[in-house]
Symmetry: C3
Subunit: 137 residues, 3 copies
């Protein structure tokens, strides 16, 4: 069994930003030399997500508005916000998820036709990381 580890770093300009990372994840799979296995991709921070959905800007605007409705930004609306202002971001991340696991087949990410991997940032403008861990043969 082989394993491979890589970090991706982000510092988004906006508080809310969705960053397309499919190519970076596929590059890690190729670097690993692994042909058959599993690829875990997870946010290492708790106000961010890794998720898979469509690479379409209208949908990304829908996510923004929808998450803002379900878990609105609010300075004084959360118990967490004592010396913090990101209570909403901890909630948004639970809806969008922390991690995805992707099959590796014949040395490639085994994704459906419209599946694209995203880093979802809900409290940006600071350095944050994503972890890629691949195991297989």
């Amino acid at each position: 069994m082989k394993s491979y580890r890589k970090e991706l770093w982000f510092n988004t300009k906006q508080r809310f930003e969705l960053v397309h990372i499919t190519q970076e994840v596929q590059a890690a799979v190729e670097e690993s030399g692994i042909q058959e296995g599993l690829c875990l991709v997870n946010a290492m921070h708790i106000t961010a997500s890794v998720f898979i959905n469509d690479n379409e800007s209208g949908l990304h605007q829908d996510y923004y508005e929808w998450l803002e409705k379900l878990a609105p930004f609010s300075i004084d609306g959360y118990h967490h916000n004592v010396g913090e202002d990101n209570g909403d971001a901890h909630l948004k991340r639970q809806i969008m998820g922390r991690d995805v696991t992707i099959a590796i087949t014949a040395g490639q990410l085994d994704l459906g036709p419209w599946e694209a991997v995203f880093y979802g940032e809900f409290d940006g403008r600071r350095n944050k990381r994503v972890l890629i861990k691949i195991i297989g043969e």
Copy 2:
């Protein structure tokens, strides 16, 4: 290390449908010959889910009504719906999740007493796939 790959295909009659697939996933585990490992089951489409919950029809009706409340079907309510009508389905799928990872122990899916695996379709009446990828020994 061994690996095994299988696709399940669906074409549901309804736009919203929950399909019980535990037996199909268990069959794939047996076909793989893997005794100890991990089994990834994921939707390959971005308006569908794979999730684990109860095989109980009242609960499935609750999921339908609840998801319709949190992310209602709407032709003109989503930025995504330019030439599309499935913006709601991309949101519903984020709540229900894309994939589950299930332990394999002694050649069986290592599930709790009431855990059942479902394909969740939120924009059906077309061909869609689920990927099963198993690694282990």
Copy 3:
């Protein structure tokens, strides 16, 4: 390839309770002797979650209030509640998630600085289990 399996048992005093289990999961990694691999941690019950977020009591109160808003406890508000009263808990668990997969690197859980693993109980006061399954080398 090595594999390791362990169950954690819970019987919470409250219906809703979030239990910090990072140390128990790290102990299982050490017991496994696995240096590089993947660690699956999942609720074996369908009204409970395993998730990763902040170990901060204000945030935990926020989760309680937010989940109660999105999927309120109600005796007669769910189709599932015929001889049951936990329809809400099946919904809450979908938002918080069933499982997390954590990388293992150099014999340690490969977590970000604030990542903490939690058992999320939404219908407690009974015996329930979490499964830890580790594979790697």
